[in-house]
Subunit: 209 residues, 2 copies
DNA sequence: TTACATTATGAACATTTGTTCTTAAACAAC
DNA sequence: GTTGTTTAAGAACAAATGTTCATAATGTAA
């Protein structure tokens, strides 16, 4: 292995960190070089230009843990877990905002969302649609098995997903000011408890009659 | 009225539009001048520097319609409207994403959220906390009147608020790519219907017995 | 009309920034 | 060790950018 690989990775990571922190446009090649410990001109031995670093970061987003809240499991394999599954997914979102790597990816995504069309495509297809569609299938199967009440599965998926995203954004935002995230962090679990309680089919409590 | 007022307003609006579109850092004084129809140097007759424009925009956010989803009404005056109130609030969010002025403000806020501490303070205090707290009170009063089931009012407020914010972001994001927002737009109403149905106290259907 | 203040212009400047180029050092293969 | 390739340094450049300044144009008040 040549020394290239190591330096290139360092550049990549420094750039990602800085892009997430202050945005692509506000990050300079000199800053990136400084973080890595080389002069800015040496960066060009590893990347064609500044935009090539950005492109490579976006390329790799799809392979990251930022989006894989289902851990590659298919809905029909897991839907029977019911509430436990929702808890698990909810916890994935929480972990994303607390893991240094995924937190950086999330912040990067939000930073550049309106400035990069490819990133919006990624957000829409991989981060949003893919997960919401999988959630839809999960809820649909749960309805078939009479675990939850029958409604529009896509609506349920959106309603379950939206607060998780929002709380995630809250955490990342609070961390930007070094504020306490404790209160926001509890909302992940509370959301799941609340949500499940509202959609599950309550057993006909026969003891009443 | 001097001609100053007109030009200053034009500069302010052009800057806001550009900041929302491409971000503060990526917007140049020359672009702002071009939008207004003057040379960049003339801007300095109205604003001390580029940052002063940004500061003034943030100053004015608090007076904008972006945050005033309660239209200055107090919870106890309106909570009795029940579901109709939630519909009204939900509709406010929808309108924000479709009104050109507030849509720009929202996009600006999201663009600069991680780059400006004052903006984060505004987001937290005026956009989030203020509204969620008011919502809490609304839900608390609804519980007292036995309109909805008793739970943590603050949780309810967050659960009602989060999807509205998320759908708002979806709309603004879709508009950035000139994509159709129809499907996302329906979610505002569906959210309210779903949410209300899950929290309201179902009348004991005495005909069953 | 005169006098004063406000605003726009055009040129200019100092920095910053992305990028290139030449040269030297570090490394790998033989 | 020699040779060829890869990588870093340093200088340099052109373009972009925020800002200033002197001057001219415009508007206002008497």
């Amino acid at each position: 292995m040549s020394k290239t690989a190591g330096t290139k990775k360092k550049i990549y990571e420094a750039a990602l960190r800085l892009f997430a922190l202050k945005g692509y446009k506000a990050t300079t090649m000199r800053e990136i070089g400084k973080e890595v410990g080389i002069r800015q001109s040496a960066i060009y031995n590893h990347f064609k230009n500044k935009e090539a670093i950005l492109d490579e970061i976006i390329d790799n987003l799809a392979k990251s843990n930022l989006i894989n809240i289902f851990e590659d499991k298919e809905p029909k394999e897991i839907y029977k877990k019911g509430k436990a599954l929702l808890k698990q997914i909810s916890n994935m979102f929480k972990l994303i905002s607390y893991n240094t790597e995924t937190d950086t990816l999330f912040r990067f995504m939000m930073q550049e969302l309106f400035n990069n069309e490819r990133l919006r495509v990624f957000y829409n297809e991989e981060f949003y649609q893919k997960n919401v569609k999988k959630l839809s299938v999960v809820f649909f199967l749960m309805m078939q098995d009479e675990m939850i009440e029958a409604t529009d599965p896509l609506l349920l998926a959106n309603e379950f997903f939206a607060p998780l995203f929002f709380y995630q954004l809250q955490i990342v935002r609070l961390k930007a000011d070094n504020k306490s995230t404790a209160a926001a962090a509890t909302l992940f679990e509370k959301h799941t408890d609340f949500f499940w309680d509202k959609i599950r089919i309550k057993e006909k409590n026969s003891t009443l009659f």
